[in-house]
Amino acid sequence: MRELSLHILDIVQNSISANAKNISIEIDEQAETDMLSITITDDGKGMSEDFLSEVISPFATTRTTRKVGLGIPLFKEAAEETGGKFTIESKLGEGTSVKAVFGYSHIDRQPLGDIASVMFILVQGNPQLDFYYKHNVGTNEFIFDTKQIRSVLGTEVGLDRPEILSWISECLQDGIQELYGGK
């Protein structure tokens, strides 16, 4: 995995597999304190303490098509090789929170990559779920919240209508570009 946004896409697939209904993705980029953090929180089925203690090793998986799970170990490694740290908290029946902190300017820190496309793909592929996305770059902030979109659309118009998806795509592209002082 060469981009942090791809790790995010992958870690969120775990939340979706765990039957989460609400998924929050928070990115905080602070060049001044030399830190970039990514926190993904879900209200899925969670993990037991025993399983959680093993999940950072590639041999912990409940998948059936392959014997090793790679998503979490890869994300952990990406953080640790930048002098950062990785934590995962989970409670059975309540949900899971995964947090990775990276050294912002570390040479091995992967670029964030196309996070707008990743967020779009998540919404497009899972229009029944709610995503809360908060991204800070220095003092700039962008929040994208499907609950807010739903409150405008009402119940008859789904997020997966083509014209709504186009709006969502542009909203994400514009919002993220503005974060970096674009436009």
Binding site: L9, T65, L74, V118, R161, I164
Partner: protein, 123 residues
């Protein structure tokens, strides 16, 4: 920044069209594997390319959906195409550059792009 007022206007537009929407049952399904193996092999840009192509051609009866691991990790990115009433076709090691041809030949014209299928690339 996109405005919520614009979104509200789109809602009105969508509502006026909803009753004309035909049943999606006999539509085409394009399924992209999005587990760790798929994502690491480049499934994200492939999925984006399918969404763009379908959008650009305004294909109404085509659903682009995501799935977990298909179980053939070394052939990822894997894409399955289901045409109504036909056996599924599985493409392997798909690149964004191949997407336009798969949509034009297979999805639109019903002609499988044989050289991209897993049977061919695995020879």
């Amino acid at each position: 920044m996109k405005s919520l007022a614009e979104l509200a206007a789109l809602r009105e537009q969508a509502l006026s069209q909803i009753h004309m929407r035909n049943d999606e049952q006999d539509g085409v399904r394009i399924v992209v594997g999005m587990a760790t193996c798929g994502i690491a092999a480049g499934a994200r840009p492939v999925l984006s390319a399918f969404l763009e192509e379908v959008n650009k051609r305004k294909l109404e009866n085509v659903a682009v959906v995501q799935t977990g691991c298909i179980g053939l990790c070394r052939l990822e990115p894997i894409v399955e195409v289901y045409l109504p009433g036909q056996e599924k076709v599985t493409y392997g090691k798909v690149t964004p550059e191949q997407v336009a041809k798969i949509v034009a030949d297979h999805v639109v014209n019903g002609k499988v792009v044989k050289e991209y299928t897993i049977g061919e690339i695995d020879k």
